[in-house]
Amino acid sequence: MKPINAATTGILLREDSIFERSSEGRAGFDIPTPKVPLKSPVKYRRTQPAALPEVSELQVVRHFTRLSSWNYAIDLGTFPLGSCTMKYNPRINEELASLPGFCDIHPELPPEFCQGALELIYNLEDALSKIVGLDACTVQPAAGALGEFTGLTLIRAFHEKHGSHRKYVLIPDSAHGTNPASCILAGYEAVPIKVGPQGYMSVESVEETIKQHGRDIAALMTTNPNTLGVFEQNISQIAELLHGIGAQLCMDGANMNAILGIAKPGDMGVDVMQYNLHKTFSTPHGGGGPGSGPVACRSHLAPFLPNPRVRKTENSFTLEYLPDSIGKVKGAFGNFGVMVRALAYIMNHGSDGLRQVSRNAVINANYLRARLQKKYQLGTQTAHFHECVLSDSKQIQANGVKTLQIAKALMDYGYHPPTVYFPLTVSGAMLIEPTETESLQELDQFAEALLEIAERIEAKKETFEQSPTKTFVGKVDEVGAARKPILSLDDRSI
């Protein structure tokens, strides 16, 4: 099968900034004028009105519709971004999240006026605890990175409650960049653990670090399956080692899409973990958020969870404030709109359906791996789960073509490139995660595109230096953007 949906040309319209469509005095959206005397303040009054655009409704509609047409999206095609889980987002979720009973409610409503919302939060926290085999959960963190920080802060609160002031968090070198960054924010120093060529942590490497730092170690933080898509098969022994020195095992749940109903972190010895609802439970990524990063934990960490907690009494849902709570990590209850979508997704699938999700995600990734390894070097020989990692070594050898060029070339075939140059442990990494929502036909076409690119490189027909050529804009000068940053319209004139 040839890559039939290669990018082609069509009518795409240029569009300047909305400010350049503005005309002095043109009125936009009208707000009803109330029947009360209209007044203006005297004190601190703004003298120079903010220079917002002055445009008509149609101008706004055309502007943003044109802009949207310049984006690649899941709704247009395969989005194989490793570690990001760009799966299809069922549209019923959008409909449910926009119900007035969810949208138009204020978080300061008295609890008896928002029982439905509290019930939803309670049910979601309950489901998220059970799926991973842990005891409690908070849905307050707004995103995965904030969830990581929350998990680590729970660990710190736990240690400090027991009079133990520890310094280090061990992090495998294949970890996502947010892990070490969250670690610093939580007041810890990150100590890297080397991941061997097999693609997972060895018991010895952790043992060695424990010998070196002992009870100064607060926790080990790992993604499982890890960022290479490989299961950390020594995880239980590593958990035992950590627990032996009173340290905690913290898991980044970014890759939960691989193991729903297949393995429970609670059974691996994990003490605390964060989810990414926008990945595993299908909230649209929306050009970079909003997301949600719930944290599930064992009972010994639960007294420190962010306030308030939603509790179920005999016939209602109430709020409880924990005395030992770490405090709030986000305003109100968190990203409630994302929670509606996640619960809808969970109930849409049921426990059997969720297991099927991970099963199909793993099959799809392995299918791609099997097809692509004919022309591409694998990042590791160990079994992959929901994503596979390739290296550009064969293409560099054939004609000096690197991952970046391969990624840009893929755009001309009508695809979003995989995650590139991550994880850092594989040189020229391409991390491919097809997700369970892609059909075998789509995967075949995507594979054909990547294989054809490899063939053209081997035949020394192309170096793809000028790619992409069919996109709305050509190769973007990213270096130039950083040299003299123009970050708003008004910077153009500086």
């Binding site: 900034s17 959206f29 009360v36 005397p37 004190k43 009054r45 703004r46 009105p49 409704e57 706004v60 509609v61 949207s68 984006n71 247009l76 299809y88 449910l96 009973g101 969810f102 949208c103 409610i105 978080p107 300061e108 006026f113 919302a117 019930e119 309950d126 707004a142 990175a145 904030l146 802060t153 960054a181 610093i184 924010l185 007041g187 393995a263 926008h278 050009g287 970079g288 958020g289 997301g291 986000k330 305003g331 209850f333 809808a344 109930m347 849409n348 426990s351 059997d352 359906g353 392995n366 755009m411 979003h416 369970e436 996109t471 709305f472 190769k475 000068d477 950083a482 970050l487 708003s488």
Partner: protein, 456 residues
């Protein structure tokens, strides 16, 4: 299941291509003890206990509509709630445009050649935020007002080589203060609150003492404060030594439609919340924080930035820029751990503000101001006064309501939520204090109804 396209026959084809007999071969690296125990049980009330097969779309719609109907939404219950989260009228086109699949289902624009729509929209968002706040630069958005403000404290610490302590106004919203404290809880530095005076405004005498004793790197003030009044930023700024940055949190960006922006009053960093401009209350999120600062702090800014550049055809275009500040490059030396932000909500804000326009934005501020003015006059006639009487309010204020406990209860019985009770947030001196907030959905009649219910 409609979202899972792989058929059983295709599964066999896939196994053959992969070279395995069954699915178990693919997950054989999981220790058997873990694999055997992996099932879980989902319970959602008696009707959906042990939910193994999922609900169909229609069953979901029924379940969630029932759940939503257990909430008293704005359409069924009149409310005067605010305190950082505000109701507003949202034009139809905001949903229509923001729900386009090309915006909804795209990713963070790491690949600029196929993400120009998102990138240009963010560039326009950044432009709007700088123009409204009066600051030279703004980023692509933060999770919300509280987390943006906590990030401002961290940025002030990075900018200061010596002093690391932080002062926070005690009349800043409790959510903001709590999030700031949690974000800074991993440090040994001192975070101290600056009390408010008998006018509910920042106690500048006390502030002067604290500046001397703590030598802080930043003071975080709220504009307006939680009691609804506008602080005198110029005076506060004049008290600060050069080593102490003025961080102004604006929990309601629409304030700046009418009032002098912090950027012209000496603010170094301006953060806050912009959800009320195009995104519903949503029980508190997802919302969108904004983050603006002076240009010289650019390299220490958290979050994503979009910059203008050119492509190899000489066309103007946009890209994420200065990413060497960020976690995916700098890891433990990054300016922040933020990765996901609030792209879609920032887009909604951009659409809303574009459509509202220069005049509409001013009108929005004026309507809020006028409604609150009317509310205050009417309540005063019934002997319900502002707890802190002065002349710098925008759209909400704390009122002393005699016998609040019983009057509040009666309001609820009449399907009216008159405001936020402040006793639990600020202590016994606020026993009868109620924070009342207006929004553009309110009519004169609505306010009269509130006054009637609160006063008798």
């Amino acid at each position: 299941m409609p979202s899972l396209p792989l058929t059983q026959a295709e599964e066999q084809t896939a196994f053959k291509t992969i070279g395995v007999q069954s699915f178990d071969d693919l997950v054989a690296t999981i220790p058997p003890k873990i694999r055997e125990n992996a099932s879980f049980r989902l319970d959602f009330g008696a009707e959906h206990s042990n939910l193994r097969t999922g609900l169909t779309e229609h069953e979901l719609r029924r379940y969630f509509t029932d759940l939503a109907n257990k909430n008293r939404s704005e359409s069924s219950t009149l409310h005067f709630l605010g305190g950082g989260i505000y109701d507003n009228i949202i034009p139809a086109i905001v949903n229509q445009l923001a729900l386009r699949g090309e915006f909804l289902t795209c990713y963070t624009p790491y690949q600029p050649e196929i993400s120009q729509g998102t990138l240009q929209a963010i560039f326009e968002f950044q432009t709007l935020m700088t123009r409204i706040t009066g600051m030279p630069i703004a980023n692509a958005s933060m999770y919300d007002g509280p987390t943006a403000t906590a990030e401002a404290a961290l940025m002030a610490q990075r900018l200061s080589s010596t002093n690391q302590n932080i002062l926070v106004a005690a009349n800043l919203s409790g959510d903001y203060r709590s999030v700031i404290k949690t974000f800074l809880s991993g440090q040994k530095n001192i975070i101290e609150e600056v009390p408010f005076n008998s006018n509910g405004l920042l106690d500048t005498d006390h502030l002067t003492q604290q500046l001397q004793s703590l030598n802080p790197c930043a003071l975080i003030v709220s504009f307006p404060n939680y009691f609804g009044s506008l602080e005198d930023l110029a005076i506060i700024k004049s008290l600060l030594p050069k080593t102490c940055l003025l961080v102004v949190a604006v929990p309601d960006l629409s304030t700046l439609a009418l009032f002098e922006p912090p950027g012209t009053l000496g603010a170094d960093i301006v953060t806050g919340e912009a959800h009320q401009l195009g995104t519903p209350m949503l029980f508190g999120g997802p919302h969108v924080g904004f983050f603006a600062s002076k240009r010289e702090y650019l390299r220490q800014m958290p979050g994503r930035l979009v910059g203008e550049t050119q492509d190899n055809r000489g066309q103007r275009c946009y890209t994420l820029t200065l990413s060497t500040r960020e976690q995916h490059i700098r890891r433990d030396k990054a300016t922040s751990n933020i990765c996901t932000n609030q792209g879609l909500i920032a887009l909604r804000t951009t659409i809303y503000l574009s459509f509202l326009g220069k005049q509409g934005f001013q009108k929005l501020g004026k309507i809020n101001y006028s409604l609150f003015n009317y509310l205050t006059e009417q309540l005063q006639r019934k002997q319900i006064h502002l707890k802190f009487p002065h002349d710098s309010y925008y759209r909400e204020g704390a009122f002393e309501v005699p016998n609040l406990e019983s009057r509040f209860k009666r309001c609820l019985e009449n399907n009216l939520v008159p405001g936020i009770r402040l006793r639990e947030k600020f202590g016994p001196e606020f026993e009868n204090a109620l924070l009342v907030t207006v929004n553009p959905k309110h009519t004169q009649k609505d306010i009269d109804f509130l006054v009637e219910n609160l006063s008798s």
